[in-house]
């Protein structure tokens, strides 16, 4: 049973919907955006009915993604406040990656890595939005000086790339950490999983028992 009530509820249906909406929009924005970044990716425009449509919809996808992300941000910000324990976690991240979690401090609902990712994404999103408006030729570019347009183009490209990098990492982390994807797909996690990966959260939810 995917929705076995004995399992712990990690993400509510609306949180999941919000996440996947953001994810889909991100993929669309990233794929369409990549096609303008480097000619190698230009054929990606075929996914969007050609170059012109790609150019037209990319900014709207971006804005939609941003709105979706903003909802997510508003919701998850409280769970992503960095604590000293998170910093401790981050300082041991190499061991974690090596498969050795013995020295890792107990993670809450989100571990230090996830929190860092959250904030990096938030910053990237904000910069992508600002720079994206400046280079949105159809509506806004004529309002800005050329130097700012050029600067924003670099910022947009850079943070677009960073964002994709972060997301690749995020995806890999989800793949690597078994059952994470199910958690986001179906909302509930096994208690064992919770205790393994987010012990502090597990205790908080269950009061320490099974």
């Amino acid at each position: 049973m995917k929705n076995d009530p004995k399992k712990l509820l990690r993400y509510t249906p609306s949180e999941r919907a919000n996440h996947w909406l953001t994810a889909i929009l991100f993929f669309l924005a990233a794929l369409s955006g990549l096609s303008f970044f480097e000619p190698l990716y230009y054929p990606l425009t075929m996914l969007f009915a050609g170059g012109v449509w790609t150019r037209i919809i990319h900014p709207f996808l971006g804005v939609a993604m941003l709105i979706s992300f903003a909802v997510m941000y508003a919701h998850f910000r409280q769970f992503n406040v960095m604590t000293p324990s998170d910093r401790e976690w981050l300082s041991h991240v190499r061991e974690m990656a090596g498969g050795d979690d013995r020295n890792m401090p107990e993670a809450g609902k989100f571990n230090g890595g996830q929190k860092l990712l959250f904030w990096l994404m938030t910053i990237s999103m904000a910069l992508l939005l600002l720079s994206g408006i400046v280079i949105w030729r159809a509506y806004f570019s004529p309002l800005f000086p050329l130097w700012l347009i050029r600067f924003s183009a670099v910022v947009h490209a850079a943070f677009g790339a960073i964002m994709i990098g972060l997301l690749l990492f995020h995806i890999y982390a989800a793949i690597w950490t078994k059952e994470s994807i199910e958690a986001m797909l179906y909302g509930r996690v096994r208690r064992a999983w919770a205790k393994q990966h987010h012990p502090a959260w597990f205790r908080e939810i269950t009061g320490g028992g099974k």
Partner: protein, 293 residues
């Protein structure tokens, strides 16, 4: 296949070498500002030949009109009244695409084949491939391309590539009543410019010279200026233009680096997975929660 398709030295958003079999003579349009009377014949001939018609605007307190380059006005005259040691000088410059040897627009363009450079030096926009992103506008050191509000394509001077392709001079060069615009091979135009510069020097313009923008590898539209030391006198003609370092970064080194970084990241992830294995719930905890499975 048409003649021109083998004459391409550069093609936007194309990492491979385009067909570049034929070498044609490099051409240049030389604009001798000291002979220009600002009659706008070039503007008229440009619209007429290219079948574009700009809107009928308004007077803005100057003789310039249209006030700026647009998708339908690929060249405009720019008038500057400046006081120099010779007294009042009315410097009139024909503005338009400079057809750079190293075109910033082409560098910035993400749409394959929307901007090409022919071996004769002409940088041409191909609107059917243009996606309307406007990156070329950011890429151009001279602020030339203009996006049409109607069809969201960028337009600029083609140096009458269609005329040059059949052996004719551009429409503006042909029409110029005083011969302020001349057209020929780059070598011949240099020679012509030298003659003009020595004439200007003999008339007291000690700093007369040629404007060929080495920062963009030279241009295929060059100016003879009475005051070559101060191009900014000519309605803000860019002194020492080059492709913005930002654009070079953006559309230069960043592209392969980022792609490589992506590749490396993905490869790293795979390696990590196969070497370290997945991050699973430990046996110990699994046992503790046996009932769950």
């Amino acid at each position: 296949m048409a003649l021109q398709s083998l004459d391409i030295t550069r093609r936007s958003a194309t990492s491979t070498q385009p067909p570049d079999r034929r070498k044609t003579q490099e051409v240049v349009k030389l604009i001798d500002v000291s002979k220009c009377i600002g009659c706008k014949a070039c503007q008229a001939a440009c619209m007429e030949w290219n079948d574009t018609r700009d809107v009928i605007g308004a007077n803005h307190g100057v003789l310039d009109n249209p006030m700026d380059l647009t998708a339908a006005s690929w060249t405009v005259m720019r008038y500057s009244e400046v006081e120099t040691d010779r007294g009042l000088e009315w410097l009139i410059r024909k503005d338009g695409c400079m057809h750079c040897s190293d075109p910033g627009c082409l560098k910035a363009c993400p749409a394959p084949g929307a901007i090409v450079q022919y071996s004769n030096g002409i940088v041409d926009f191909h609107e059917e491939s243009c996606i309307g992103c406007g990156y070329c506008i950011a890429g151009c050191p001279f602020n030339i391309p203009r996006l049409s509000k109607k069809d969201s394509k960028v337009y600029k001077c083609t140096l009458c590539s269609d005329r040059v392709a059949v052996g004719l001079e551009p429409a503006c060069a042909k029409t110029c009543p005083t011969g302020a615009i001349v057209f020929g091979t780059k070598e011949d135009m240099y020679h012509h410019a030298e003659g003009r510069i020595s004439d200007l020097k003999s008339r007291g313009f000690a700093k007369a010279g040629i404007y060929d923008a080495p920062g963009v590898g030279g241009t295929h539209v060059m100016y003879v200026l009475q005051h070559a030391d101060k191009p900014e006198l000519y309605h803000g003609l860019v002194k020492d233009p080059d492709i913005s370092p930002l654009v070079s970064l953006w559309k230069g080194v960043a592209k392969p680096l980022v792609t490589m970084a992506f590749g490396a990241g993905i490869l790293g992830a795979v390696m990590h997975y196969v070497t370290k294995g997945p991050n699973e719930v430990s046996e110990e905890i699994e046992k503790e929660f046996k009932d769950e499975k």
